[in-house]
């Protein structure tokens, strides 16, 4: 028998029942909840007179609607009454059903995909779901993690299971080491540029190769976070020492002998050497440059030294039409140098890039520099309470504040502009988030996806620039 992929192993270990019609019941170990996609699920549960199957598998935190200023005011600080009701509804539902919640004033509150791993609530070998497409993030822990819709949130609450069909296996191999100044975010964008936003549809992605092995857990989370932007519900990275050391000692992680027992089992969370993948993509990581998106889909991406493409370079009429409409929306024309695109706002945050390592990297670029006068606003939004605390302990907030950045409270913030943080029409934003869709960061707003380093460089320069040029100047001087 051929070896199994990591995905095959995770699937097999959670298979409750294979049905004749090709669907399967899959057991869910961890269910994360936030305020936007859960109220209707709790309501459904109530209407049907059902109770959660296993209360302790659930953890909730509000993130999308929470303001990123004046946190100490708690719920009263949410000025939009509709947003406030949504956050209060999560509180009420968690209380009524006995679900653990890191509520708005809890020091552990944050973006659900930052909170889970940070608390050790996401563990290797788990199945993890959440009513949020970026649940793919948790795959960084050799876990099977994916987003679900609200009906499925209700289904998991009621039965601890999901009805699934097995996806196919795709391996993405990034050979060589990422050069200095080129990050997991650039790798993720380059992969999406290569396979397209539908390239991973129907597949589970496993990211592997030297460059991936060389990433920290933060970097692996960034990479898996973007799997959904490549069309795959789940992305994952095999277990290794890096995973183990990250998990050790986290509040919800097993302790003592139980930890040793778990660690021994986790060592098997790798694809067998003779496992067969349905598709394979190879990439030379060592030749990558920092990436910047120019359009309204993450696949519309080029290197910082590139240009907005010529329409004749489109592969077909559909792509040409997509490019044309994206250029119109973005106010860009073919041939425009990426470096010449000015930046009005800068957003460092989101479940893609708001972890401590991201903030350290951005601070290293910003240190001793100033945000350009032409930039209206530059903000840093830590992913969670503990990230914020750690950054402040390291003095990173002072670096940002001295440079002219705003230092905010944790939440999704300008990633999707459900709270007060948003772009004005026509404004260009260097953003470390994951989606550059039309209107995503505000009506008419123009998002360019970049790494934290590149966002920091754009803030300083007032337009996109190659962060490697700044890193050379400060070499030796960075933290």
């Amino acid at each position: 028998m051929a070896g199994r992929t990591l995905y095959d192993k995770l699937w097999d270990a959670h298979l409750v029942k294979q049905r004749d019609d090709g669907t399967a019941l899959i057991y869910i170990d961890r269910h994360l909840l936030h305020e936007v996609t859960s109220p209707q699920a709790f309501e459904g549960l109530r209407l049907a007179g059902r109770r959660p199957w296993r209360v302790d598998a659930n953890i909730a935190t509000p993130d999308h609607n929470v303001p990123t200023v004046k946190r100490s005011e708690g719920l009263a600080g949410i000025t939009d009454p509709i947003s406030r009701i949504q956050v209060e509804t999560l509180d009420d539902n968690c209380r009524d059903f006995g679900i653990l919640e890191f509520a708005i004033l809890d020091p552990r509150q944050g973006i659900v995909h930052v909170v889970g791993p940070e608390q050790g609530a996401t563990l290797p070998g788990m199945t993890v779901v959440c009513g949020d497409s970026h649940t793919s993030t948790h795959g960084a822990f050799a876990a099977l993690a994916h987003g679900i819709g609200t009906s499925e949130v209700e289904h998991v609450l009621a039965s601890q299971c999901l009805i699934q069909r097995k996806a196919r296996n795709m391996r993405i191999v990034a050979d060589g080491h990422l050069p200095r100044g080129v990050t997991a975010k650039d790798l993720a964008l380059a992969i999406i540029g290569r396979i397209g936003t539908a390239g991973g549809t129907g597949y589970t992605l496993e990211f592997s190769g030297e460059a991936v092995r060389g990433l920290s857990m933060e970097g692996r989370m960034t990479l898996c976070n973007m799997a959904i932007e490549a069309g795959a519900r789940s992305g994952m990275v095999a277990f290794d020492e890096v995973t183990l050391e990250y998990v050790r000692g986290r509040p919800f992680a097993p302790k003592g002998a139980l930890f040793e027992q778990a660690a021994a089992a986790w060592r098997d969370l790798v694809s067998d050497s003779d496992a067969v993948f349905d598709a394979e993509v190879h990439l030379d990581a060592s030749s990558l440059e920092p990436q910047v998106t120019w359009g309204t889909s993450p696949e519309m991406v080029v290197s910082i030294n590139g240009i907005v493409p010529d329409l004749d370079a489109a592969e077909n009429a559909g792509q040409r039409q997509g490019w044309e409409s994206a250029m119109r929306y973005m106010g860009l024309e073919p041939g425009r140098r990426i470096r010449d695109i000015g930046v009005d706002r800068v957003f460092i945050g989101s479940c893609t890039n708001s972890r401590i390592e991201d903030l350290r990297a951005a601070a290293a670029v910003v240190r001793g520099r100033k945000v350009a006068d032409s930039v209206l606003q530059a903000m840093v939004v830590p992913g969670s309470g503990p990230v914020k605390q750690q950054a402040e302990a390291e003095g990173l907030h002072e670096v940002f504040l001295a440079a002219g950045f705003e230092w905010r409270d944790p939440g999704c913030s300008m990633c999707l502009a459900m709270n007060a943080d948003r772009l004005g029409a026509g404004e260009h934003c260097a953003s470390t988030s994951n989606r550059n869709f039309e209107g995503r960061q505000g009506h008419g707003g123009r998002t360019h996806l970049v790494s934290p380093e590149m966002a920091a460089a754009a803030a300083v320069a007032g337009h996109f620039m190659d962060v490697r040029e700044m890193l050379e100047v400060t070499q030796g001087g960075v933290a």
Partner: protein
Amino acid sequence: MKAFTTLTGRVVPLDKANVDTDQIIPKQFLKSIRRTGFGDNLFDGWRYLDEGDPSKTPNERQINPDFVLNAPRYQGACVLLARENFGCGSSREHAVWALEEFGLRVVLAPSFADIFFSNCFKNGVLPIVLENKTIDLLFEIEAAGEGLDVTVDLAEQVITMPSGETLGFEVDSFRKRCLLEGLDDIGVTLTDAQAIRDFEAAHRQRAPWLFANTG
């Protein structure tokens, strides 16, 4: 869930690839804690010229006359004809609620994003995958006429054109049954409650650390 058996009605063409869920229902409408009230804001950014917010009624809005859904011949349409990777982006089920409430209960496209696709089946909306060339042809036929009306029959898995010509389509058998009967799939899953309990007990034996929630 509302059952889906057959449907006859107007096809509305949306000639755009990679239509994402942020376009289908923009985020400012996700603040509702209800399952209804999203139909007026379906494709909000394209349907209206002014920026929408949940407090505005459609009467107060500026209609975008150039958006296809607003053209007189497509009023009351119930079949959406779309391009590749329809429904990509977020997992928000609100996108399907908005389509359903607006009256679009069938979406025809060459491909769909995974999460959107499965969300459709939970809400009585039928997403149908057709080959690229078939979709191209439908766009052509639609554009050539005064309005295209088709009949979609889920039990038989066929779409009948005005000419009487039929197009077959594939659908997952479990999902088909749920749609046809309007089944609550949680109820179906819970008929396996014993199997779930048995699995859980064995899983706890194998991996006790997954059950030690001690933060």
